[in-house]
Amino acid sequence: GDTAGEDTGDAGDAGDEAVTIGFATCNMNDTFQTYIVDAATAKATELGYTLDVQDAQEDVVKQQDQVNAMISQGVDAIVVVPVDTSAMGPITDAVTEAGIPLVYVNRNPFGTDTPPEGVYYVGSQEIVAGRLQGEYLIELMGEEGGVGILMGLLTNEGAVKRTEGNEEILSQYEGIEILAKEAGDWQYDKAMAITENWITAYGDDLNAVLANNDGMAIGATQALDAAGRDDVIVMGVDAIPDAVNMVAEGTLDATVLQDADGQGSGGIEVVSKVLSGDTPEPITWIDFVLVTPENVADFQ
């Protein structure tokens, strides 16, 4: 497009003009995503950039529209947390065509491929979070026991991948039975209700609950508490402050830190490198870290 070309032309010599970065997040209702946005905002402010945050509310078409509007608006760079990693083709095409640098954060649209020129990725692989939970569970529980998995919204990629990671590890042990996988839709209270029902259904056979996020893990601990079941292992993902505190207190066994700071600020750093003429690495891996009582002090 003509207009977009002109606009980026403007942005090129924007030495004294303010730099605007479009940040298309996938869902601000997701607590973890708000930490990424916070980190990105902080970094942008530090570097003197304006960050224009748009929330797609898990709607891939909306995200596309928002990115298109950013292109029309003539932002200097675009950062995207994909709603659906398999659907980023059109966004990648549109942004590269407009000559605007593009950084994907948190969810990897490229899998094992290398991103095309001018496109970058900062983040991790969701499936790893699930694996970490699984591996630590084996450590705590041994190779025998019943597990319930609390999944996020079934339509959500993170939910699918994290669960896959859990299953990949647990299925290697014959003594471990996945009693149930249910959708708590990321909601605290739904997870609580499901856990209550699991306690009824499986009784002492239920030895562990792996939740796709911390909110649902917290809901599960509430239900277990109320039933006087302190023998059940519970783990979450995200390491939100409440969860970290609970790990420290011992009410939660573990959570998985997905380094929101690293991802959010990392994304902006890549942008700053590109804008100043450097060529950063196409992929910056930010690893998941398991938060357990042993290392929890580092995260508080």
Binding site: T31, T34, L154, D189, Q222
Partner: protein
């Protein structure tokens, strides 16, 4: 002539007998949704006897409390021929404000750091007042601008959710005072959410069936012109109807905070559909003027029995969705038999 009279008498007797049988069938049909609930309970408890354990039954009740309470407010709204899509968001907003006023003084991320520990009455009142006030705004918009309830409450739904997210920057508020957590606790075997739910059912029932407010709700939904020509203050009543619905969201928010021990801004996302479904399953009609409190209760119970049962039976997640959809439809089809005779 004599034959005639005999015939008439015969007819009369016959029709009296017929009427008795009819009335009996009527009754069964009238409470068709209860029949559906009983069927559901029987099937589940045969398949999984644990369902009938008192503890599980209390669980089922407690689980239905949150959307069940909202369904009570929605009963008023729907009888009056309205709709309220904002109930989930109102719960979240009322809940998050209440939670922010009800944190322990030692909370690590304290929303009002300078605030000590307030008496539990403060967050409770905050939740109730915010719920009722925003509900009243809904009602006011509908009554005084004449916009459809769908639009007013859809707008409120996104607005209230936006404010909720902004209020905490998207973060949850946790470490609540024992007074709030108590609301999710138990007295003996009885969960307090169940007691609160019971109380709300009673209040709603009194309001709907034993006050002129209740009569006005039916009139507004059944025939708004009749209400107007009878001198009913339709606008005032509409405001009250939505304010009450908002109030139930405030109550539900407190139960939520009590049960979960924290409130996050995404709380109760999409609950409007669940609560409306509970009301509708219970026979409250969107064409207005028809509906009962017990219907909303039974509707909410059907949903929670179903969800509990499907989990107990270990039905897979995808199948749970599918089965839930099918059973809701079937339950209402059973209930529809009540209208079969009315041409």
């Amino acid at each position: 002539m004599a034959e005639d009279t005999k015939k008439i008498k015969d007819n009369k007797e016959k029709s009296e007998r017929d009427e008795k049988i009819e009335r009996y069938i009527e009754l069964l049909k009238k409470y068709g949704i209860i029949v559906a609930l009983i069927l559901l309970v029987v099937v589940i408890s045969v398949a999984e006897p644990k369902f009938l354990s008192p503890k599980n039954l209390f669980n089922v009740l407690a689980q239905s409390a949150i959307y069940g309470i909202m369904a009570l407010g929605l009963t008023f709204v729907i009888i009056s021929k309205g709709i309220d899509l904002s109930v989930g968001s109102l719960l979240a907003f009322a809940g998050i404000v209440a939670a922010s006023l009800g944190q322990v003084s030692t909370a690590t991320t304290k929303y009002f750091p300078s605030l000590g520990e307030l008496p539990v009455l403060v967050p409770i009142l905050a939740a109730l007042i915010i719920g009722a006030l925003l509900g009243a705004v809904n009602g006011g918009l509908i009554a005084f601008t004449g916009i459809p309830a769908f639009i007013a409450t859809l707008g409120m739904m996104t607005i209230a959710r936006g404010f909720t997210l902004m209020y905490t920057g998207g973060k949850p508020v946790s470490q609540l005072i024992p007074g709030i957590k108590f609301l999710g606790d138990k007295i003996g075997p009885i969960p307090i959410p169940v007691i609160i739910y019971g109380l709300m059912i009673f209040i709603t029932w009194i309001l709907l069936n034993h006050t002129s407010f209740g009569k006005n709700i039916y009139a507004i939904g059944g025939n708004i012109k009749a209400a107007e020509v009878s001198g009913v203050n339709v606008k005032k009543n509409l405001v009250m109807i939505y304010a009450f619905a908002g109030l139930t969201c405030g109550v539900a928010a407190l139960v939520f905070a009590g049960r979960v021990g924290s409130v996050h801004p995404g709380a109760a996302l999409g609950y409007e559909l669940t609560a409306i479904a509970a009301t509708t399953i219970g026979g409250t009609s969107h064409t207005g003027g028809i509906g009962t409190v017990w219907g909303a209760v039974v509707g909410a119970l059907i949903l929670s029995v179903l969800r509990n049962g499907l989990t107990l039976l270990g039905v897979q997640a995808y199948w749970q969705q599918i089965v839930e959809g099918v059973i809701i439809i079937v339950a209402v089809i059973i209930d529809m038999r009540k209208n079969a005779k009315k041409k």
